[in-house]
């Protein structure tokens, strides 16, 4: 069991050695190095876990996934480098991707940074505006009367469909891209916040009123807390929409960021770099998702035991 990862590493390593005999040594060098590292770390962990129960539990949980991931690299090597089942240059082997990742790391890091800045500014703006408009629509019947039709008509338009207009209206592509991301986030956040607020249990509001609550208490201390589970659904949907809008906006207008990097690398037919950027995106976006999950778990700790997460 503890040896699954080292064994998988050796298998994948063997596959690579078998197929990379006629590949340039420069390409495989860092990939080999990575294998030695994985092998070393996994052996150290396999030894350490016999003294450390917490580590053993973690390993028992994670080991199958790690094993599968490493074997996946081997399979990837077989179908690309080994039997050329996928056309080159579109599908390079794992070693070539790793080399692109390392050799172009400065530009990739810079692109990630630009994407993060753009995403966060757009997302934050969208969330703030969405929360305010959602609370207003959810609480006040007259705001709902005018706001809901607008929301229902304008909201479902994909934010990316506004790109031609946004590029004309705004002085800089960065600003218009941030605005589009905000728009993409605004719709689900407003929708879910409004429905959460308007579905606040009437008896909570009744109880609060008999305790002497005024309007501010009813909105900020009853309706909004009651709507938080719904609001988080909106925040998750908004985050997904913001990734999509970010990448599209970067690949058509903005001259920086990971989306731009992908289309730039594609222009030069450097597909190793395309895959490298995709790997970075996967890590980047899933980290943000995980972060939002952590925030939710902290804020909704009172739900623990009521609903299954």
């Amino acid at each position: 069991m503890q040896l699954a990862v080292p064994v998988a590493t050796l298998i994948t390593f063997g596959i690579h050695l078998l197929f990379s005999k006629n590949a340039p040594p420069l390409e495989t060098h860092s990939y080999m190095l990575l294998f030695w590292e994985i092998l070393g770390v996994s052996i150290v962990l396999a030894i350490a876990q016999s003294f450390w129960p917490a580590l053993r539990r973690w390993m028992r949980h994670m080991w199958p996934i790690f094993t599968a991931a490493i074997l996946f690299l081997g399979v990837w090597d077989v179908i690309t480098l080994g039997f050329h089942l996928l056309p080159l240059p579109y599908f390079p082997g794992p070693a070539a991707v790793l080399r692109s990742l390392i050799s172009d790391r400065a530009l990739l890091l810079d692109s990630t940074w630009h994407s993060l800045a753009l995403l966060l500014s757009g997302y934050t703006l969208g969330v703030i505006v969405g929360l305010v408009s959602g609370v207003c629509i959810g609480w006040s019947t007259s705001v709902r009367y005018w706001g809901m039709p607008l929301l229902k008509v304008v909201g479902p338009i994909p934010a990316t469909a506004w790109i031609p207009l946004a590029m004309v209206v705004s002085p800089s592509t960065i600003v218009s891209a941030a605005g589009l991301i905000a728009l993409a986030v605004w719709f689900p956040v407003t929708m879910l916040t409004a429905s959460g607020i308007s579905n606040t249990r009437a008896s909570y509001l009744d109880v609060a009123r008999t305790l002497g609550a005024g309007r501010a208490y009813l909105i900020f201390r009853v309706a909004i807390p009651a709507a938080v589970p719904n609001i988080f659904i909106g925040l998750f949907m908004g985050l997904g929409a913001s990734f999509l809008t970010l990448v599209v906006a970067e690949s058509v207008g903005v001259k920086s960021g990971l989306g731009w990097y992908v289309s730039w690398a594609q222009g030069w037919a450097e597909y190793g770099k395309v895959f490298a950027a995709l790997i970075i995106m996967a890590g980047f976006f899933s980290t943000l998702m995980t972060l939002l999950f952590k925030i939710r778990d902290r804020m909704l700790v009172w739900q623990k035991g009521i609903i299954k997460w």
């Binding site: 249990r201 008896s203 909570y204 009744d206 109880v207 609060a208 009123r209 008999t210 305790l211 002497g212 609550a213 005024g214 208490y217 201390r221 009853v222 807390p225 009651a226 938080v228 700790v301 009172w302 739900q303 623990k304 035991g305 009521i306």
Partner: protein, 267 residues
């Protein structure tokens, strides 16, 4: 008793109150929920309101709480007409309706926060947590509490505002029989230590006899107060004493549920 309640010492008065609602199936007709209800409760009294479901007990309580408005008639606290909900009339429902996102302590504090007096009265929170014996559960969230504990939190949350009148809408109705009897004693203890006027809505005759100074019987619909029975049994009351059972038989008869002999175990 009734005569005393009509005097100036009376803390809650309801005079010829009527209330109707639009019929759910036909918006053009209105269904009479309460018709010419009059009652008055003296300060410090514990009065029960019993009657079958749907006779308008909860409607009357919502009017007194200020959550709904009467079509006609007067509702007074002391000499003040009731126009909106207020902290001087505490309300506890059958469902404790604790705010699930707040801990027990924060739930009990809610009334102080709502009135903006938490800073001056923070020390009272501990006092009320002790009063309902929940000091150890201050940081627990409501869904970790049993039904009886949750209802004690709801009582403390209502009592921390020092209401002149406590309105209890079948507060023990969802509890199992044993918890229920224990909570009856708990409510009595709170009433005896704090001398809060209590209007206690229930559909459990035994509960009404065990707890209250007077029992008002409502009939349906439209809701009217049919009879008011003074209950002078000495406290603490014995649920199986002959006097208790005799009173129970009388009330069952008034509600047309009595057989030839006083029923022993119907509620």
């Amino acid at each position: 008793m009734v005569a005393l309640a009509e005097t100036e010492a009376s803390s809650l008065r309801v005079r010829e109150v009527s209330k109707s609602f639009p019929a759910p199936d036909d918006p053009f007709t209105r269904r009479q929920a309460l018709s010419d209800i009059s009652l008055s409760i003296a300060a410090g009294e514990l009065v029960s309101l019993i009657g079958p479901s749907g006779c308008g007990k909860s409607t009357l309580l919502r009017l007194i709480a200020g959550l709904d408005f009467a079509d006609s008639g007067d509702l007074l606290i002391g000499s003040e007409p009731i126009s909106e909900p207020g902290a001087e009339r505490g309300l506890v429902f059958q469902d404790p309706n604790l705010f699930p996102w707040l801990t027990v302590r924060r739930n009990i504090e809610a009334g102080l926060v709502a009135r903006g007096v938490l800073r001056e009265k923070r020390n009272e929170v501990d006092e009320f947590m002790r009063l309902v014996a929940l000091e150890a559960f201050g940081d627990a969230y409501p869904h970790h509490l049993s039904g009886g504990m949750a209802q004690r939190v709801a009582l403390a949350r209502a009592l921390i505002n020092h209401p002149k009148v406590l309105l209890l809408d079948e507060p023990l109705g969802a509890l199992d029989a044993f918890t229920r009897m224990r909570m009856q004693d708990e409510v009595l203890r709170l009433w005896q230590t704090r001398r809060t006027t209590i209007l206690f809505v229930t559909h459990d005759i035994d509960e009404a006899i065990y707890m209250s100074d007077r029992i008002m019987i409502m009939t349906q619909p439209p809701g009217r107060i049919d009879q008011t029975i003074a209950n002078t049994l000495p406290r603490p009351r014995d649920r199986s004493s002959p006097e208790f059972l005799r009173l129970r038989g009388n009330i069952l008869e008034l509600l047309h549920f009595a057989g030839n002999a006083p029923a022993a175990n119907s509620t």
